[in-house]
């Protein structure tokens, strides 16, 4: 549970361009900084801090704590942030299950919650809340885009697999929502499973023409390495999570050429993104990841709202957030009625630049894509 207060040096205020906010805003970030999933949380945090630093705005005070990827710790930290730190805005949670534990209670207590990563369907549909904003995606989005891409690529018979947990089920549902071809086979694997020999054998025997998989973290690394070794040559499609900058180096050659869907890539051509990629590399000495871009956008969204309204006036501040008047690194970005993004989702291909594995955008899967649950939301 690292606590990091950001008191920014006055020297940075040279670059202040935003009008000074009426009152300071305290942001509590609960994210995963230790354990196996720490890489994602660290990127969100770093992206967020970079945006604050680049803005030079000293009125945003950030408190960061580590949830250890445990729901009960996350809830405890949310209580602490609200009760002791008296934060105005909460953000930072990576995992859907932690978000489900924290978000409803936090928004019910009148706090704003801005999600930099998780977007469970329950919070996008019936469970939506006026104070909950998702700056990343609804969980289904990238899978839906993968389904759309599979149609464009002419795949007629997909084999699909995901871990047996809610996000995994959402993934396969999301893919099938847009994919029009046949399903050659559908497998739910065990969460945390590291050996996919049995599944790959079934893929080989299924006669499919493509494989869609959603296996976040180490599961995806294991799957891709084993898939490449098996000699089953059908093309792979997946959401960006298994092809992210942080994880891609561990997959290596096995990922080369794989198509994946993402709302961001480092080669999106706009000034905000260029500045982001350059300053991130300068600051941290590594390429930014998807998660870093989401953290960066989240901070900029808050900063933009701070310039328009005081956080003490919840209605005005909410209206300012809804406008989403900031330069997103993704280019166009706006909120749907349920406070989830409406954005383009791209198809990327894994390439090798020198020694580094990375992604390049090869097309757009879905334009101005919103999620499927907005209609259920009564906002």
């Amino acid at each position: 549970m690292r606590m990091k207060s950001l008191a920014l040096a006055a020297a940075l205020s040279l670059s202040v361009t935003l009008p000074a906010a009426a009152e300071p805003v305290k942001v509590g970030m609960i994210t995963t900084l230790s354990g196996g999933g720490a890489g994602l949380g660290i990127d969100v945090r770093d992206g967020f801090m970079l945006a604050v630093k680049n803005s030079g705005n000293t009125d945003l005070e950030l408190v960061v704590e580590d949830d250890q990827q445990k729901p009960d710790i996350a809830v405890q930290l949310a209580d602490k942030m609200i009760q002791s730190e008296k934060v105005d805005i909460l953000t930072g949670i990576i995992w859907s299950n932690l978000a489900m534990a924290v978000v409803p209670a936090a928004t019910a207590q009148g706090k704003f919650y801005l999600s930099p990563n998780a977007g469970p369907s329950a919070l996008a549909g019936k469970g939506c809340h006026e104070n909950y904003f998702n700056v990343a995606w609804q969980n289904d989005n990238l899978h839906e885009a993968a389904g759309a891409y599979a149609n464009d690529a002419g795949f007629k018979n997909s084999f699909i697999l995901a871990p047996n947990y809610p996000a995994g089920k959402d993934a396969l549902t999301g893919y099938k929502r847009f994919y029009k071809g046949d399903v050659a086979g559908e497998i739910y694997t065990q969460l945390g499973q590291n050996d996919y020999a049995a599944e790959i054998a079934q893929i080989r025997a299924s006669g499919a023409d493509s494989v869609f998989f959603f296996l976040p973290g180490g599961m995806g690394i294991a799957f891709m390495k084993q898939y490449a070794a098996s000699g089953v040559g059908m093309p792979l499609i997946g959401p960006a999570f298994s092809f992210d900058q942080g994880i891609l180096q561990a997959v290596g050659e096995a990922a080369l050429g794989v198509k994946n869907t993402s709302q961001w890539n480092k080669d999106i051509d706009n000034p905000a993104n260029k500045a982001f990629v350059e300053s991130f590399q300068a600051e941290y000495g590594r390429l930014p990841s998807l998660y870093a871009s989401q953290g960066f956008d989240t901070a900029n969204l808050i900063l933009s709202a701070m310039g328009k309204a005081s956080v003490g006036d919840a209605d005005a501040f909410r209206a300012a957030l809804e406008e989403a008047d900031f330069d997103s690194v993704r280019g166009s970005f706006k909120f749907a009625s349920n406070h989830h993004p409406v954005q383009d989702i791209y198809v990327r291909e894994v390439i090798k630049e020198g020694d580094v594995f990375t992604n390049k955008i090869i097309g757009t899967a879905l334009k101005d894509h919103a999620d499927a649950y907005a209609a259920e939301c009564k906002l």
Binding site: R2, S34, D72, A105, N164
Partner: protein, 338 residues
């Protein structure tokens, strides 16, 4: 010889003083926090009280019965889900059972507790009846494996949220109390802890406690006086599971959330850590351990991302050097047994 007797007595007296100080401290700090308007301190104290309760449950099996259960998170999780399932059905006005009789969910804590206790006891009966066929290392490994089985089941079973867990948006109710008020919920949990500790203190002195204690030291001895060590241990395991399940229900209510993480083997390990850190087979050992653990988690966690290293080192030192745990260290009463 009489000198040794006096030593035991004075050590015991000092342990009682330490227990009272501990309990008073855990009761008074939140009270102070309440006046000082530091609600998070109350939340931490509540967490400590509930974890202490879970540890107290384990201590019956571990301390009195000598049963090294590495799967107590099973019962903790069952308690949590008993609360989650009942409350979520009540929250959605969706009966729990439609046939043959309609059973509604409930957000009434006493009922939830009873269900948690019963569910924990039944699970402990089944797991215990299987695991107690073995002993020693086998028992450790088997309880660990059963814990893992429940964990995977909870993650992959879709009906109650799977890995996402079950969120309850309003804390369940208790007659005459506003449970959402941190200090009132703390008082409730603290009261439950006191009741269980009182029961536990009686249990240690009871015929059952005497027999169980003897069975830990010598199976042959209790057999030779005509008692069935298997039944004694199974009863202890069931009691132990029931109490830990109650703690799980309270814990889920504290967080308004039940999740498969409550079943994880790390949690089993942590419950065991409370017991050892404080002192095995000591009435307030789990309490001392839980308080220290929560404080470490809070303060050490604030110092370093890698605080687990320090926790590990501390634990190692306690195991290697201070056999009686913290209470043993403070009361000068070495190991509680052995």
């Amino acid at each position: 010889m009489s000198g040794a007797v006096t030593n035991i007595r004075s050590g015991a007296r000092r342990e009682w003083v330490i227990n009272l100080v501990l309990l008073a401290g855990l009761g008074l700090v939140p009270l102070w926090a309440w006046f000082a308007d530091a609600p998070f301190t109350i939340t931490l104290a509540t967490r400590a009280a509930i974890l202490a309760l879970a540890g107290t449950g384990l201590n019956i099996a571990l301390g009195m019965g000598g049963l090294v259960s590495f799967g107590h998170a099973v019962f903790f999780g069952i308690g949590g889900y008993a609360m989650g399932i009942l409350a979520s059905h009540a929250q959605n006005y969706d009966p729990l059972v439609q046939w043959p009789v309609v059973i509604e969910g409930t957000q009434f804590m006493p009922v939830i507790w009873i269900v948690a206790i019963l569910a924990g006891a039944v699970a402990a009966l089944v797991i215990g009846a299987l695991s107690l066929r073995t002993s020693g290392v086998y028992f450790i490994m088997i309880t660990l494996a059963f814990g893992q089985m429940f964990y995977y089941f909870a993650i992959s079973w879709p009906a109650y949220g799977g890995e996402d867990g079950l969120a309850i948006y309003v804390r369940n109710g208790f007659p005459g109390l506003n449970t959402l008020d941190p200090i009132q919920y703390f008082a409730l949990c603290f009261a439950v802890l006191l009741v269980v500790l009182f029961f536990n203190a009686r249990l240690i002195r009871s015929p059952f406690g005497l027999a169980l204690n003897a069975a830990r030291q010598s199976t042959q001895r209790v057999e030779a006086v005509g008692m069935d060590p298997f039944r004694l241990r199974l009863a202890a395991f069931v009691l132990s599971g029931a109490i830990t399940a109650l703690a799980g229900a309270l814990f889920a209510d504290l967080n308004r959330f039940a999740s498969p993480a409550m079943f994880s083997w790390q949690l089993s390990g942590e419950i065991m850590v409370f017991v050892i850190l404080g002192g095995v087979a000591r009435l307030c050992g789990p309490l001392a351990g839980a308080v220290v653990f929560v404080m470490l988690e809070h303060f050490l966690g604030g110092l370093s991302e890698y605080w687990h290293i320090f926790l590990g080192l501390l634990l190692l030192l306690v195991v290697l050097l201070a056999k009686g745990g913290l209470i043993g260290l403070l009361s000068g009463r070495g190991a509680a047994h052995g």
